[in-house]
């Protein structure tokens, strides 16, 4: 099967993700897939959750922190600016406190907490995580393409959603128990009704957001997660390992795409020994990829003669990625 056939066989697939080690071509494939689908008339959003995102580079346009930007008809790209999101979020919290209690300024100890909480390491990831929920929640695109961060981060992202989920369940449980005590007390005092617990409502909302995000990652019908591999011994081993970790989190792997294959056809031309050796050297890993991943390899893209930037080059990659035989 090639990538087009995978998509045709899974008509409900809406979220497409490319994962793999850093520098293997995740962003390239994300852009190429977005380009291909947009050309077919689907409305596509490709977005990056990486603080050091490179969608701006590949599309040759500065889209960082600018929301969904139209690159060409039907193709939108977005890079999340986590710092700004955190900043806006802090202000929002301050405003809510001021409005709620009619303060002129946020009390000192509260203010210092807001500042301290925002500098914690988990803050950035959480902010991005939450931004993704906002993006996919609106559901206005036919396809969402996640340009994922390198493997370690992606796993962190996934494990975080399951930790958050447990955390929120515990806290919600405690809060509901508190509400039960409230009810008992007001019943004994014969009060008409106890106040609605706003915190419980907020917790439910947080839980809903977290569940939405993690359910997308583990949805077999709607989500296609593809690993990017290159014909190198080390990459193959790492990818195999990562596959195991991802399946532990229940992420269904839709296939593997091989990148950076130096075309064998070059051998018939007059080429330097250096390149000849490189081509011979990659034969063994390519055979190994076939052995290890078998028919789950859904595409193979050659090493191009120049960097993939700009729509023309992206179109070339898309052609290989979706039309290439394998």
């Amino acid at each position: 099967m090639n990538l087009s056939q995978v998509l045709a066989a899974n008509p409900k697939m809406k979220y497409i993700m490319f994962g793999g080690k850093g520098g293997l071509g995740k962003t390239t494939f994300s852009a190429a897939a977005a380009h291909h689908l947009a050309r077919q008339g689907h409305k596509v959003l490709v977005f990056s959750v990486d603080p050091q995102a490179s969608l701006s580079d590949i599309f040759q346009r500065d889209i960082f922190g600018k929301g969904a930007t139209e690159i060409m008809p039907n193709l939108f790209a977005q890079e999340i600016d986590a710092d700004r999101r955190i900043h806006d979020f802090q202000n929002e919290i301050r405003k809510r406190i001021l409005d709620r209690y009619g303060f002129d300024k946020v009390p000192d100890e509260i203010e210092s907490y807001i500042a301290a909480a925002s500098s914690e390491p988990a803050m950035e990831e959480s902010a991005i995580f939450d931004a993704v929920v906002d993006i996919v929640f609106h559901g206005e695109y036919d396809y969402y393409i996640y340009d994922l961060v390198p493997l370690g981060h992606a796993l962190y992202y996934l494990s975080m959603s399951s930790i958050y989920d447990e955390w929120i369940n515990k806290v919600t449980e405690l809060r509901s128990e508190m509400q039960r005590y409230d009810k008992v007390a007001s019943k004994l005092k014969s009060e008409e009704k106890s106040e609605e617990d706003e915190i419980l409502t907020e917790l439910e909302e947080i839980r809903r957001r977290i569940n939405l995000s993690s359910s997308i990652f583990t949805d077999k019908e709607k989500t296609g997660f593809f690993f990017v591999v290159t014909p190198e011994e080390m990459t193959i081993l790492d990818t195999k390992k990562a596959e195991g970790l991802f399946s532990k989190f229940g992420v269904p792997i839709a296939g593997f795409v091989v990148n950076r294959v130096i075309p064998e056809s070059l051998l018939s031309e007059k080429i330097p020994d250096y390149l000849r050796h490189r081509i011979e050297l990659q034969r063994q890993p390519i055979t190994k990829i076939g052995e290890v991943f078998g028919d789950r390899v859904v595409g193979s893209v050659p090493e191009f003669e120049r960097d993939i930037t700009g729509l023309d080059m992206i179109a070339k990659v898309a052609e290989q990625l979706f039309g290439g035989a394998k």
Binding site: I114, A116, A117, E120, V171, M178, I206
Partner: protein
């Protein structure tokens, strides 16, 4: 008619007094206990969500901030309770 209304009002007032009397006799302690338990839980809740204020980092700060506006008034009593020294008078509380 005016007299009637007055009588009715008196009746309601009397009923209410009885209700309060019975409540005081039978249920007040139970209600007080329920509220006290709830108060302790409130502090536990703030500890879980805002723990980093005392230097106890508890995940995740992003969502803690979302809850912060609701617990602002309770923060100072909670901190006092968590950080005070424990002694025998606590048992009298």
């Amino acid at each position: 008619m005016g007299e009637d209304k007055k009588e009715k009002k008196k009746g309601i007032k009397f009923g209410k007094s009885i209700k309060e009397f019975v409540y005081g006799m039978a249920a007040h302690d139970t209600a007080r206990f329920a509220l006290k338990t709830r108060g302790s839980m409130e502090h536990l809740f703030i500890l879980i969500t805002m723990g980093d204020m005392l230097g106890i980092p508890i995940l995740p700060p992003y969502y803690s901030l979302r809850l912060l506006p609701y617990v602002v008034p309770q923060i100072s009593t909670w901190k006092r309770r968590m950080l005070r020294e424990k002694d025998f008078t606590d048992t009298l509380a």
